[in-house]
Amino acid sequence: MPGPIQSIERAAAMLRLLARGSGHHGLAEIAAALGLAKGTAHGILRTLQRVEFVEQDQSTGRYRLGAALLHLGTSYLDANELRSRSINWADTLAARSGHEVRIGMHLDGAVLVVHHVFRPDDTMQTLGIGGMLPLHATALGKVLLAYDAGLLATIRRAELTSLTRRTIVRPSALERVLAEVRAAGWASEAEEYMPGEAGIAAPIRMPGGLVVGAIGISGAVDRICQTANRPRQALVDHVCHAAEAVSRSLATDN
């Protein structure tokens, strides 16, 4: 076991300091109060600012607790912001894979479709933004479950509804699949949600690693999968590549 990590201890001390008194502190004041070199204190404040735990007043340059701290338990990334930030890479994934693309986030025990790009064949299709999908029966949902133990626990308490012959309905089987998802870094579904349909999805991460959503493709099972319901490797690579590109775009602040 490694010892405590000093910079995290210092960050915690800084948040406690800012939570006290006037709530507005200058850099020199913070550094002096904690016995840190100004440069060190500044580095930690900048990082806390990046994760929105600390805000800096534009005019005075003083620091205070960030609004994000008040909403720690609620949604971390705005769904519409995720759509805006991912639109280029979702388009590119559709163009490269030849399949329709969805981005999902968790909402009330289901997958909320926050973005949808049509299959690039110019046939009549319906926009599915705002729709809900089951967590346990879709690739998008499995990604969201795989990286959120709390969510999985609530799902387990409810019943896993059977949607097709292949839907995973046994909690132990689902848990085994989710462990595989974590090991592989992507999830798939083959006729578990709709007969004849399959999908592949991968996690979208915020800086720091927290999974905030999933991006995936779906289409006819014989086009998504090779044999024995194993998805085609080239498509898996496209999906993972897109997920990484979206995660990278979330890391660059505009």
Binding site: D78, R83, F118, P120, D121
Partner: protein, 509 residues
């Protein structure tokens, strides 16, 4: 042989992007940086041309790095830019004379009003296709020449140069003070008010009307043209096209045939229709502009409905009111209510452009009651974009005597799902977004790729266009008509607000 690519630089009003595309018109990498916007007095909007150049200096290498390719794999570079915005700089030092004056700036309001009563004013529109307005470069350039001591003399001696942002970037990329090329393309030139729309040459009558020294202006070239190779930032890339962002979007949407139309939703929004070789003069407040000119061929004309404030209203809501943290949150906030609650926002921040051309109009929020929440305001922000689109679409239909059944859209605001649905509802047509939301960049890449033979022809480019999303109208027609009537009443209330007294700097009096 290593795979080859085309690069585009999109120097927009809000940010500058560098994008690498492959031969299937798919995005390989994107690098982007926002630049600052200065508003030192009411109605003034400026940007720092040096900051923009520095951003280009960073994002070009970054786009190559992210794509994992070398400059030798880039067969051509296309440059596209916010239009009308210009900078004047010293050709010997490369240093700008003051900040770039942005297309949204209305400092010349009085100058324009006074010019409108001078002899020759009647002919301006016939010659350049544009109404006399603060929006275009010439009045602001004239203002700068009057404002900066000695500037006119330096311009006449050839010591300072004028350029829209394409010109500024090409001059810098091709060497700057060491032999940088001083050129522009017909589409950008068509927005200065100094180019004759029929001959595509600087017009002596317009130059004398605005009193602009010919010597400071760049050479006008076709849209696709091998300008030369870059010698700075990433040396050795062939600059093969330049065109204004709205013209690039028309091209990127593959609106190559007469009658094909697109609307780009960014800082402002711009509806353009390809009118082929026909120069159409609008009787309903639209502009005549150059669509594009492929090297050596006659120009393709376009009819344009320009809306000054759409995405920038969202930014104002974010930055000046602080009601949201990021632009996309406007949708989240707007979804907290089911309608506008009777509230309307007319964002006449720069006066009103098409189809009204009321430079003295100023913005308003009307219909306030104690019932109104920030959710209603957010909703009114999005609806303002939709109703302004409806006005320019109506103008276009009136000019052409026919009604288009679909609208092709692109630009940063098309990520707003609620907004796209509202636009479909108020226009009562299907709204279609293509698979490359970065259509402006794609258009610049297409033009550059065509110039060097990377893509053989326009028909091949058309095959790359695929539908990414479609919104269909769902609004009750009676409700639509009532809302439109309310919007029109709100617009009328903005007219005539600014009198000359209001435009004087309030800090000094």
């Amino acid at each position: 042989m290593a795979q080859r690519f085309v690069m585009a630089i999109d120097q927009g009003t809000t940010s500058t992007r560098c994008i690498v595309f492959d031969s299937n018109a798919r995005l390989v990498s994107v690098a982007q940086r926002e630049h600052r916007r200065y508003s030192p007095r009411p109605g003034w909007v400026e940007q720092d041309a040096v900051e923009i150049w520095r951003n280009v200096d960073r994002i070009m290498p970054q786009a190559l790095r992210d794509a994992g390719i070398g400059a030798d794999q880039v067969v051509a570079l296309g440059i596209t830019n916010q239009r009308e915005t210009f900078v004047v700089w010293d050709r010997h030092t490369g240093a700008p004379v003051g900040r770039a004056i942005v297309w949204e700036d209305i400092r010349t309001e009085e100058l324009v009003a006074e010019m409108a009563s001078r002899p020759g004013a009647d002919e301006v529109r016939d010659r350049c296709g544009l109404p006399l307005a603060t929006y275009f470069s010439a009045p602001s350039l004239r203002w700068l020449l009057d404002d900066v001591p000695d500037l006119r003399d330096r311009a006449e001696r050839g010591d300072v140069l004028f350029g829209t942002m394409d010109t500024w970037l090409i001059w810098n990329l091709t060497g700057g003070v060491n032999g940088g090329l001083h050129v522009t393309d017909v589409t950008n030139a068509s927005r200065t008010m100094l180019m004759n729309i029929m001959t595509q040459q600087w017009d002596p009558e317009l130059l004398s009307f605005f009193d602009i020294p010919r010597r400071m202006l760049p050479e006008i070239r076709p849209t696709t043209e091998i300008h030369g190779r870059t010698t700075r930032v990433v040396p050795g890339i062939e600059i093969a096209a330049a065109l204004g962002d709205q013209h690039a979007a028309l091209f990127g949407q593959t609106c190559f045939a007469e009658g094909e139309t697109k609307c780009t939703y960014g800082t402002g929004s711009f509806l353009l229709m390809n009118t082929g070789t026909k120069l159409i003069r609008s009787e309903h407040g639209l502009l005549t502009t150059i669509g594009y000119q492929l090297g050596g061929e006659p120009v393709t004309y376009a009819l344009e409905g320009s809306i000054a404030v759409t995405g920038s209203l969202v930014q104002w809501f974010r930055d000046n009111l602080g009601l949201i943290h990021s632009a996309p949150e406007i949708e989240t906030l707007a979804r907290t209510v089911k309608d506008n609650g009777g509230c309307y926002i007319v964002p006449a921040f720069s006066g009103l452009f098409a189809p009204h051309w009321h430079s003295e109009a100023r913005g308003l929020i009307v219909g306030l009651t104690s019932y109104i929440t920030k959710g209603h305001l957010a909703r009114a922000v999005l609806e303002a974009t939709a109703w302004q689109t409806r006005e320019v679409v109506d103008a276009m239909n009136a000019d052409l005597g026919e009604r288009a059944g679909v609208l092709r859209v692109d630009g940063g605001m098309t990520a707003d799902h609620l907004l796209m649905q509202i636009i479909a509802d108020v226009l009562d047509v299907s709204v279609m977004r293509p698979m490359v939301a970065e259509t402006v960049s794609l258009g610049a890449a297409y033009a550059a790729g065509l110039a060097v033979g990377y893509w053989p022809d326009l028909a091949g480019l058309r095959r790359n266009w695929h539908l990414a999303a479609r919104w269909t109208p769902q609004m009750d027609p009676r409700h639509r008509d009532e809302e439109y009537a309310n919007w029109k009443r709100a617009v009328e209330l903005t007219f005539g607000w600014a009198t000359p007294r209001h435009t004087v700097d309030s800090g000094q009096f």
